[in-house]
Symmetry: C2
Subunit: 440 residues, 2 copies
């Protein structure tokens, strides 16, 4: 009645183990091929309602992230509590060999997928949201204000705020908020306050509505509203989910894990591919490989996949611009389509912005980062291929990276070259099903 | 420019490792306190259209699972290919200490959650779907026919069928299929054929529609339709996702992992809790603990949480009954509400059936299994509590198990007793958001 189990399990950590999570973040800045151009004031800033944009940023940001933006040391220690939380959400995330996809493509390439989609809110955004919520709690800040494009960052902030006992106020690109009632409901169930942008909540939103500009909303309109909200509510702090150095730094847990996982497999990557909106997924994934890129040159391809409806890296210009249409952000130097660019409606809210990260601007400007752009219908087609081979539904943004990976793998078939392609799956698509259905 | 990384990662398997997955399934049958009553023919079976129900089952079932239903050895070897697939989907699944929930409840109890919700289709059902698809492919069967209640089993079968190159035909309890357009779309994107039940596709469905009975549909109506479909299409085979011995056996990877994980933590469980519909989640989770239960008696509580709208274990009777309203299944002995019982509309499709597993019947009948029932509004309330503490949205079915766990933990607070409560999270709730919203 009590037979001995024939199975002697390989030791598996029963609970999350912080020692499996990197102890430090990787600071991309000292590894970049050039200095990151500093932010600038727009002309006449001192005379208008918002005053010095740089001073405003200093006032509304958390102390710790301001320090990280200015850091020059190559590694920054991850606070123990953050490391514990990162372990508890399932880090390190798996690195999946996509064998079914390889078989379908009949390619000699080996395709690896870094699975950020398995995190509790369904995307990589939680990595930075947890860090920033931790710093807010440590600083005694009770309310965080932020913006979100696709809703992934907003969801992550709502989750992290709840975890650390904070309140979250979220401005969400209106078109995307309306596309995703499910994610909206989840964010509200987590206790966050959500405002589709442009909204009547802030002077920035009111101005856009009054002038009939950017009525669909975008990450940019939401940034402007979140900043103006924080400016008018001194007890709050404003946080970002992309663009800035500290966010890319927080995301380097992805690349460090990937590097260690590839090394354990004895694999050397030939191509690293990520989708690119503000640049935090790409930067966090590729940052820890920058030293290797400097050594290997063309032997290691770094490839960003963007949306053809917001083609900054492929069709924009590298110059100073505001990150929001109203101009309440400082000017920063990045690839931009211009802040007046009216972005069309798409289901790819995470890649839907007119500018991006200055760090990505340096990478691209110095020729280290290749870029390609896809129409959303093509991206969703790749998403369906990934579903029918590997079995998981990935976010529309991630579909762009996967499409580039599939193209490389098909090229490898044609040239007979066995190469190692590593793509980052930034998020899952369960709350983006309507987008998939719209492109069936 | 190339600093050495200060992080020496703990070795983490980069890819799935089949050695981390149990090598054998646990066979519950020899550990049960009594024999499982065999199926019986209904009176007059030989004279009606369907003939011998037992012979029909023999004809439409896969050879391997028929053998497993009759197996008496305590362990059954898991085929290597199945073990590899189980590793590739993320087994072993985590055992999470729910510290945030404990803190909220201010309880001395330690609550552990076995996280089947993290599997690719969002529920534990994949464990058996993979095994059965493997056996079908091995037997040269091209098409699998099955039923599903909440859609979790149907989704898992669609996924596994795609993985093994098979076609899947799925009869889905109509009320649930209509509640979940997202899951429906996913199943269809995986290439499966879906019919809300009762349907015009089968004589069983036509009879129900004609007579105006069970028009909402249920797991039972879908079982009847799937069986009649298989009976009329000899090239297909019919598979089940619950009730029968082989399904519970396939699910014992859950309990074996849990046992090993608890042992690694040095914990001895005081209570094991699972939701109970057909019984495969409960059986697979608790089966490997049956020998321990036999030794510890009341020292180890086994608790099934069912839906108050389908209260078989708490208000039904243990007797022979059909599993489907039309009576195309053999009679089997389990707790039942009677096959004419019109189940009300709920969002808890996975627990919505009039009868269940004969194995669970033995456990309950012999007094080893306690049971409790919850209204769905109360279950969803617990789901919101789990979301706001632990951060994940769990399936409505799993909410029943968690509600029971919360009640035990509150009791532990009142009595001051530090006990170890282990609950199984059978699935995630991302595709059940409408249910949550209906009970906001």
């Amino acid at each position: 009645m009590t037979p001995a189990a024939p199975w002697t399990p390989v030791p598996v950590p029963a609970a999350a183990d912080p020692r499996s999570v990197p102890s430090h973040w990787y600071n991309l800045v000292p590894s970049l091929p050039g200095a990151v151009p500093p932010p600038r004031e727009p002309e006449g800033a001192e005379q208008d309602d918002w005053g010095s944009r740089i001073a405003l940023q200093q006032r509304i940001r958390l102390d710790a992230v301001r320090a990280q933006d200015a850091a020059t040391e190559p590694f920054l220690e991850i606070p123990e509590r953050v490391r514990e939380e990162l372990a508890s959400i399932g880090r390190p995330t798996p690195l999946l060999r996509a064998r079914a996809l390889e078989r379908y493509l009949d390619t000699p390439a080996r395709i690896y997928l870094k699975r950020e989609d398995v995190l509790p809110t369904g995307s990589f955004k939680l990595n930075s949201a947890i860090a920033q919520a931790h710093y807010a709690a440590e600083q005694g800040v009770g309310t965080l204000v932020t913006e979100t494009g696709a809703g992934q960052w907003g969801h992550a902030v709502a989750w992290a705020a709840r975890r650390f006992g904070l309140k979250a106020v979220i401005y969400w690109a209106g078109v995307s908020a309306r596309q995703k009632p499910g994610r909206n409901a989840l964010i509200e169930m987590l206790g966050a306050e959500v405002h589709p942008s442009p909204s009547e909540q802030t002077p920035v939103g009111k101005a856009l509505l009054r002038d009939g500009r950017h009525l669909l909303g975008s990450l940019g309109t939401a940034i402007g509203e979140a900043i103006s909200h924080a400016a008018l509510h001194p007890e709050t702090r404003y946080i970002s989910g992309s663009n800035l150095a500290h966010v890319l730094i927080h995301q380097t847990v992805i690349g460090q894990e990937t590097k260690a996982q590839l090394a354990a497999l004895g694999e050397q990557p030939d191509a690293l591919i990520a989708c690119v909106g503000g640049g935090s997924n790409l930067g966090g994934f590729m940052g820890p490989f920058l030293a290797e890129k400097a050594e290997r040159g063309d032997g290691l391809l770094l490839l960003g996949a963007e949306s053809a409806s917001a083609p900054r890296l492929t069709r924009g210009t590298l110059r100073y611009d505001h990150a929001d249409p109203e101009g309440v952000t400082p000017l920063s130097k990045s690839y931009t389509l211009g802040r007046d660019y009216e972005l069309p409606e798409t289901h790819v809210g995470g890649l839907r912005q007119h500018s991006g990260s200055p760090l990505i601007g340096v990478l691209r400007g110095e020729g280290l980062l290749d870029a390609t752009a896809y129409e959303e219908a093509d991206a969703f087609e790749t998403g369906r291929l990934v579903l029918s081979t590997e079995g998981m539904l990935i976010a529309p943004e991630s579909c762009h990276a996967l499409r580039a990976a599939v193209e490389r793998a098909v090229l490898a078939r044609e040239t007979g070259r066995s190469e190692v392609i590593v793509a980052c799956v930034s998020g899952n698509g369960l709350l983006d099903l309507d987008g998939y259905l719209a492109h069936r």
